[in-house]
């Protein structure tokens, strides 16, 4: 479970303070598929970065799987990112020098799995996204949709509890976007919690739950299923 209570994030320059998040409150339960929408500059990505422990927050409380992450040092945050969180980015963010096998291998190396276990997970992940036959290809030899599938395979390889996706279909045409979305839905059905930032209202509607971020706050919460929960006031 992911719980954020009164999270504030202030970007400070010499003269200007920018409040990216203001008393941001949200609870995401196990198995949720939450889409996050909102206008540019509303704080969606800042929220996702804080949720993914890629950025620190100014104050507030953030519990990830019951653990207060504000107190963690760099090693602790890195360990938690590696073990509990998977990332999918708009720009795929594959390492161009490494083939698909080695790209998926990156988080597994940091996890400390042995060679046999890594091989099993890599093959399984690539199989799951339908690219097992191309594991020796470089990213540049794949289409955009295929590259995003590799990024998803990489995110899934460590069996994360949370999958954070920042505009995962932003660089794809509509057909490929539908394919990626279907894949994310399958992953969610198998138990992985997904938080997806998107501009695409249609795709957002396919999530079990949609929230809107405006001016650094969760301004709207739409309950899609009767089971799904809501932001904490």
């Amino acid at each position: 479970m992911l719980v954020m209570k009164n999270i504030n994030k202030i970007f400070q320059t010499a003269d200007i303070q920018t409040h990216a998040l203001r008393d941001f409150c949200l609870q995401v339960n196990e198995g949720d598929f939450v889409s996050v929408t909102g206008p540019s500059g509303s704080g969606k990505t800042t929220f996702l970065n804080i949720a993914g422990l890629l950025e620190t927050f100014t104050n507030g409380e953030f519990l990830l799987d019951g653990e207060e992450v504000g107190q963690l040092n760099d090693d602790g945050r890195s360990r938690m990112r590696n073990q509990k969180i998977g990332f999918i980015f708009q720009g795929f963010n594959l390492i161009p020098d490494l083939n698909l096998y080695d790209n998926v291998d990156v988080p597994l190396r940091y996890r400390g799995f042995n060679a046999k276990e890594r091989k099993r997970r890599i093959e399984e992940s690539l199989e799951r996204v339908g690219l097992a036959s191309r594991m020796k290809h470089l990213p540049s030899q794949l289409s955009g949709g295929q590259q995003q599938r590799v990024a998803i395979a990489r995110a899934l390889a460590t069996s994360p509890r949370f999958l954070l996706a920042d505009e995962p279909t932003g660089n794809l045409d509509s057909e490929m976007a539908q394919g990626v979305m279907t894949l994310l839905e399958e992953i969610n059905q198998q138990g992985t919690t997904i938080i997806m930032v998107t501009h695409d209202a249609q795709l957002a509607q396919r999530a079990k739950r949609t929230i809107q971020v405006k001016d650094g706050r969760v301004s709207e919460l739409e309950k899609v299923t009767p089971i799904m929960n809501q932001a904490i006031a």
């Binding site: 890195s78 990332f87 720009g91 795929f92 963010n93 390492i95």
Partner: protein, 436 residues
């Protein structure tokens, strides 16, 4: 993970081969220049007889002019008068002692087809060979008895034995030197101590001599002496007057086993000088010195100032090269900011990233070290060509120096890589991931 980081480093080096090549060249040039001068300095200042350098002492007595001190009074004369060296020899107070001077002569080969051979020689005492651990292929040095009975004996260098006897065992055979017949008692194996510590007055880096003969032959004028001679007052006419003069031209070494022996010998020298003062000699305050091999080489500044200056300059050049490497590494690592951000997102801690990129720096350092070795070898060849035979044995890169070159490159590059690596590890991942 180490092997994984090595693999990543190799991939990165190949991927950015232009930048990597520039760094390897910068480090290679710096290491090459530094190692060339370090090697020369190292060999110049090496201990030529480590097994007993602490037991061999060069003897100095201050017999110089009271009004005009030798070396501005900083040290006693660097050689000894014939009078003093023969008196000290006669006293036999040390475990071993050796009086010596440089000599030269002409050998007339038995074979009439061979041209006469001009040879550099050393006139010395019997103890010379055992004191200085001279290796022999055939025979040995002569005995003290041979010195006492003024025998005409000779020890040949390996090269001279090759020329005269085709390399065969010549012990017992005779050679004609300066018109006199000499019996060969030994043939020295390859022996080129660098520095040539036993006589640095005639060139610390010269080759050792072609022949060795008893010192008394100079006194008896059976062989000509050479080398440096310094006098501070007129000598009078004739060779006997020269021998009795205050001119310094002999070198005197003793072997003393213990510190106590050294103390005792110094007391003996002081007593000797005190005694000589009664004859009107040694008018200066007593300043007798016993310097072991390394002290002697250091006091005589065997490592030339210009060699040390060159070494200092080459280190400055290495620093410039490393500063360039810092810039290039910074450019390379910051260029990989998106990958670094991604790796952080995937679970790499700053510590992990630091290890990865410092290993990449080390790999570049090792490649630079290997290039530096090649350049150092070429640099040493250049020095040998420039300075000729005197640098022949000093311009060689042994395994110790080769290892040092690689370690120096490794250490320097890791040092140069610290700042770029630190910068790389502090990249904010969120910013990089979004900007991709």
């Amino acid at each position: 993970m180490f092997n994984y980081y090595l693999r990543l480093a190799w991939i990165s080096i190949l991927r950015h081969w232009g930048l990597s090549l520039l760094m390897v060249c910068a480090i290679g040039l710096g290491i090459g220049a530094a190692m060339t001068t370090i090697t020369v300095n190292y060999l110049m200042s090496a201990n030529p007889i480590p097994e007993k350098s602490e037991q061999l002492y060069y003897v100095q007595l201050d017999s110089w002019d009271i009004n005009n001190p030798f070396n501005d009074g900083l040290s006693p004369p660097d050689q000894m008068t014939f009078t003093d060296s023969t008196n000290l020899m006669r006293a036999q107070k040390a475990f071993r002692q050796n009086v010596q001077a440089q000599a030269f002569g002409v050998i007339e080969p038995e074979n009439p087809d061979m041209l006469p051979l001009i040879v550099n020689g050393r006139a010395n005492s019997a103890d010379f060979f055992t004191m200085f651990n001279v290796p022999f292929i055939y025979g040995s040095g002569w005995s003290r008895a041979s010195d006492d009975s003024k025998e005409f004996v000779v020890v040949l260098s390996k090269e001279t034995n090759e020329k005269l006897f085709g390399g065969e065992d010549s012990v017992g055979k005779s050679i004609k030197l300066e018109g006199n017949m000499f019996r060969v008692v030994g043939v020295i194996d390859n022996w080129q101590p660098k520095p040539r510590f036993y006589d640095i007055t005639t060139g610390a880096f010269n080759d050792s001599e072609d022949i060795f003969v008893p010192f008394h032959l100079i006194v008896d004028e059976k062989i000509s002496r050479s080398g440096n001679t310094n006098c501070w007052k007129p000598t009078g006419d004739g060779f006997q007057a020269f021998l009795a003069s205050e001119c310094i031209w002999t070198q005197f070494w003793v072997e003393l086993k213990t510190e106590q022996d050294k103390e005792d010998y110094l007391q003996f020298l002081n007593a000797y000088v005190q005694e000589q003062k009664q004859f009107g000699r040694f008018q200066r305050p007593i300043d007798n010195r016993l310097s072991n091999v390394m002290q002697w080489l250091e006091s005589q500044e065997v490592v030339a100032d210009d060699a040390q200056m060159m070494m200092a300059m080459s280190f400055m050049f290495l620093i410039v090269c490393l500063l360039n490497t810092v810039g290039l590494l910074l450019a390379k690592f910051l260029g990989k900011a998106p990958e670094i951000g991604l790796r952080q997102a995937l679970g790499a801690s700053k510590r992990t990233l630091f290890s990865q990129y410092i290993i990449e720096s080390a790999c570049i350092g090792i490649l630079g070290g290997i290039l530096g070795l090649v350049l150092a070898y070429l640099g040493l060849q250049g020095i040998e060509i420039l300075y000729g035979d005197s640098m022949k044995d000093l311009a060689t890169l042994d395994s110790k120096m080769a290892t040092l070159a690689v370690l120096l490159a490794l250490f320097s590059t890791i040092l140069a890589g610290l700042y770029p690596t630190w910068r790389a590890c502090n990249i904010q991942p969120a910013q990089q991931l979004k900007s991709q």
